[in-house]
Symmetry: C2
Subunit: 644 residues, 2 copies
Amino acid sequence: MGPGIDLPETSGYRLKTKVLGPALHTDQLEHERLGKPTALAVFASDALSSTAYATEEILRVLVPVIGFLAFTSFVLPITLALVTVLVILIFSYRQTIKAYPSAGGAYIVTKDNLGLLPAQVAGVALLTDYILTVAVSTSAGMAALYSAIPSVYPYRVPAALACIALIAWGNLRGVKESGRMFAVPTYAFVVSMFVMVGIGLFREVTGTLHHAPLPTQHYDVGVKAMYFFLLLKAFAAGGAAMTGVEAISNGVPAFKKPEAKNATSTLMVMGACLGSMFIGISFLAAKLHTVPSEKVTVISQIARATFGAGAAGHIAFYFVQAATMLILVLAANTSFADFPRLASFHADDAFMPKQLTKRGHRLVFSNGIVALAIAASVLVVVFQANVNHLIPLYAIGVFTSFTLSQTGMAVRHIKLREPGWRVGLFINGGGALATGVVTIVIGIVKFPEGAWFIMLLVPIMVALLVRLNRQYESESVELAHEVEAALSAPVLRRHAALVLVSDLDRPTAKALQYARSLMADEVRAVHAASDPDKAQLLAERWDQLGMIRVPLDVVDCPDRRVERSVLDVVADELADGNTEVSVLIPRREYTHWWHRLLHDRTADGLARTISRLPHANVTFVPYHFGSCEISAEERDGYHQAHHH
Amino acid sequence: MGPGIDLPETSGYRLKTKVLGPALHTDQLEHERLGKPTALAVFASDALSSTAYATEEILRVLVPVIGFLAFTSFVLPITLALVTVLVILIFSYRQTIKAYPSAGGAYIVTKDNLGLLPAQVAGVALLTDYILTVAVSTSAGMAALYSAIPSVYPYRVPAALACIALIAWGNLRGVKESGRMFAVPTYAFVVSMFVMVGIGLFREVTGTLHHAPLPTQHYDVGVKAMYFFLLLKAFAAGGAAMTGVEAISNGVPAFKKPEAKNATSTLMVMGACLGSMFIGISFLAAKLHTVPSEKVTVISQIARATFGAGAAGHIAFYFVQAATMLILVLAANTSFADFPRLASFHADDAFMPKQLTKRGHRLVFSNGIVALAIAASVLVVVFQANVNHLIPLYAIGVFTSFTLSQTGMAVRHIKLREPGWRVGLFINGGGALATGVVTIVIGIVKFPEGAWFIMLLVPIMVALLVRLNRQYESESVELAHEVEAALSAPVLRRHAALVLVSDLDRPTAKALQYARSLMADEVRAVHAASDPDKAQLLAERWDQLGMIRVPLDVVDCPDRRVERSVLDVVADELADGNTEVSVLIPRREYTHWWHRLLHDRTADGLARTISRLPHANVTFVPYHFGSCEISAEERDGYHQAHHH
């Protein structure tokens, strides 16, 4: 703050500080180190929460077509197939953590081993999936809510939007990835799921579990190929369970030392939890014959059947629903941490707008957060917060990035041949193959229902990013081109100052005073005559006041395009190719924003137009209202002269 | 255009020229002189068109309450009472035309005789009524349309909005008040109404007119006072017929010579047409027992009944509907001519934003046109293009301005005492009294249905305009305050130039070159270190390149608020109170708009912030991309260095 000049903050900034908290300083940027239990809660909420809807999505594909066969023959095998993919993934990611202990996200691994272009594909695929995670998780969270409280159902869309807005706000404030906030809902969910599955198993074994009657219909699909396609479709739908598995490998540096080792063991625990919960829930669904319905989730039906109708059962049921809702909301929150960071990687490599690399008021990537919130909100509105309709778009992105990053790991093993590279190559090669096959399966079977959209979107986006990268590069090349030569360029021979005059008043006087301090070779005043009568009057007053030594040029402006007329005058001045022109625009500074509204903002437009010319330098000479004292008599005199 | 520098028009301007036509020059501003028949068409469409709904509005008040008594006893007397008021008005306006042959609108007459404040009331009242005219006329036009083609009914709101948009576009292009466009629909309407009334009278006399059965219900209102109130309500609803009567007195200068005489006789003809059409339509409605309904207008029912069901009858019916729709749309167009002009009067007197006095691309008051279109569209949407719901807001404004302008005329007669002033005083005094009473009646009986809104709005608006006027005045006083002293103010002792540096690149080199041409007492480069690592690198490069004689100040910016940090530096520089500071901001000029999107627009924000300080002059030093040639090798070199 300059001594003697005390500048208050603007009201906009004060509001920002109220809403987001005081600005954080750049050196406050630091990472909390997480112990294993907390890290599990922080990084696994996305993956674990998908068990809340994965089984349901499998059933939604099967039950309407093949009826009870879904329960008796297919749910469990499909779940087991998915868990097999999960196991392969978990072991693949162990390799990644070992190789990239600092940050092993798909973008970095792919960029490092396959190059920048494949990295864009992996990154864009993952970004679209982060957007979908927010939409799917908040929608599934609302489903958990209205399964418990049916009257919420009609308000699910605004409720989901409010949820997204709240999470975005929290992230703009810079929610620390603080353990406790995550730990409580995540562990509550995991514990309640294990309790539910445990009780279910116990009651099944003891024969006290009440099975719903099997659906009587059984459609014969006929052709075997059709069965096969159906099962693949169910498999693809269940693939949603695998999203979020990559989170731990992204966050290795956040673990306590030894980071890689702790991250690996956390990864194993997460895999074990996810796998067993998924199998347990699918098992109970198969036994209970839970038919998916529109307004009640499968998991809430299982909870109701397992816990029974007693008072304790009711409490347990509501607890499960609450824990499910919270972990799903947390899963959305995880995307709000991942998306802006990944987008900033793209932007750092000049493949996305530079604005995404800027840390805002609270040190978070504010632009990325806002972009994600908007994109996810659009999806929620378009799909009316319906998980079932969002699922076909989901998972293909994440499997694309799995495939690319596993391929990258395989290539790395071949290149570096570090000790144990053969085992690594086997694991990551297997992982790449498995996830590649799954990606293709998902792409084919979900194609008609929405995967086509993602399969179109990703290449289009990648093409755009590449185009954008070219632009940034060509700009960078030009900006850095022969800077030394540019620095030693001689001053132009002539310096002309043009003062733009709209009236003979104090702002003009101020601009003329500034013009004199420039000591230019030539000073002229220019008035664009959009109103010929006014121009005539101005010229007369200018001449009468002989004291102004600066000549006034009145320029015709018959089409009232002041900007264009001034542009022509400046262009004339520049025509010799050896003149530096300073165009001085008196700019009135008002004390209140609404005073500003009462006037044209011609100054900004003029500056923009004139800047189109090289060596045309536009200067705003500020005039501050209230900077001179005026007697009451003068005010009255004016009033008399003008109104009577 | 400067020789040697060829600047193409911007794409925005080219689009504007396509949509609105080429720019008109100020000296093309002229008024077509109109002969009497054309003038009648141009100025009377608003007044005449209101016969399309005035009778219906009277019936809508009466029929639901007193049933058949409306037809047998009341429609005609109420119509005659309104026509009496019309006659008084016509004779009053003859006086106004005589006294103000150049322009005798309510605003000018009131301002001239009663003062600026009453003029604001008259003006605001009239402006609100112009907005309502657009909403009511387009809505009534749509009613004429869906009475003929019922399937249009569900689309009446978007159709009305499209209609407003079309009229606004036409006016932005600068529709000449060209005779033919107005003459055809106006005369078609007048002729078709006279033919309809004539046929109706003939068939009534010959007994071939088929009367609908009288509504059987007849509610006894009981208390006499209730009857009286009801009749006043019907009278007030019919008052809508009087809007637009003032149009001729506004437009006297547009008449051929002798203007006043021609205007007066046109006024008389208009009065006679309006009065006889109104009486004729009400007469037929009374005889035919036309009950108002939601989807078919009264006038269309009359037309159907009068012309009969034959082929000729059908053609005549559709002709009437088409003529009615067209004249109603023209009536809306009239408001688009009057509103912007009246608003510009307010703005000329500094009671409305100055922007309203600006003639746009095509010499019309574009801002007023756009404002009117938006306001009327809002009304159409809110009231769902329902004339019946809009009517309670209507007419009170126009009668307020009638009263004020007639009172003004009366005051004028007393003051000037010109020959015949006693007769004039009698006529205008009577006019003021009659319109004053009608204003009060409308205010009371329509109060609960919507007049309260206008009665609140007008004083609030007037208070706002007065506040705004004070602001403009205080600004004017300050701007003109001791200009001579300001012109002779000495140059400040010291001139410091600060070059804002974000990187060591060509734009910075350009700014440094410009800085040298200023020959300031001190030149410094300033970098706000929002990214400390980048700042460090920059400082090192700056030092290594010993050739830059300008010292670089790296300013801490821990909260990444570059604007604030720079502001503090400038404030420091200004602290001695005798320094003129030039802040030079390198501004990159891109060739395509989307290239600009890829970058922060920090320059504009910086300029705005720094301009808050007195004697802090911000200069944009433009750097134009594409202004230096770069070899393919250099491009590739960059690519190599950055990607491999």
